[in-house]
Symmetry: C2
Subunit: 95 residues, 2 copies
């Protein structure tokens, strides 16, 4: 069973993923793309990664913007799994 | 230039698409699927239809639930385009 991170651990992790921020009991980032097609391409890569790791973010697509929201509901908070998927998605984005 | 529908026209259209409801200046429906993979399959069909018609809904994916929110920003409200895409998405869902 994965345990949720402490506030200090979250703070340290957010320093390594500076584009992400805490929103309630989750971490969130909005990515911007050239257009809707590019946004959907990213969404499908992120969805494949989510399915592989069996850890699924909330995904909001608004034309050329994609917002990922990550939390670990089983642990009642934010865990290493969230930061792992965040880093993976950042990799797909290319930054 | 497409013009926004009147309240009466919206009401009549919503009677033909009863699973949709008005949320602010938009129409919205949440679909439920067997799992995330099935949800993503639907999202991709809806995204293809959106790109073909150059009319893009906001799409929120929460594991097995997909919420589409449709408005025509150019017209400042809800138009026939929104109900056309809503009907198309309903067709992909199979109801």
């Amino acid at each position: 069973m994965i345990t949720k991170l402490s506030e200090e651990e979250i703070k340290a992790s957010l320093e390594r993923t500076p584009e992400w921020s805490m929103v309630g009991e989750a971490i969130q980032r909005t990515y911007r793309f050239e257009d809707f097609v590019a946004a959907m391409r990213f969404v499908n890569r992120a969805a494949d990664a989510a399915e592989t790791s069996q850890h699924h973010p909330d995904i909001l697509i608004r034309y050329d913007k994609v917002t990922l929201t990550l939390a670990t509901h089983d642990a009642g908070g934010i865990t290493e799994k969230d930061f792992a998927l965040a880093a993976q998605a950042d990799g797909f984005y290319g930054d």
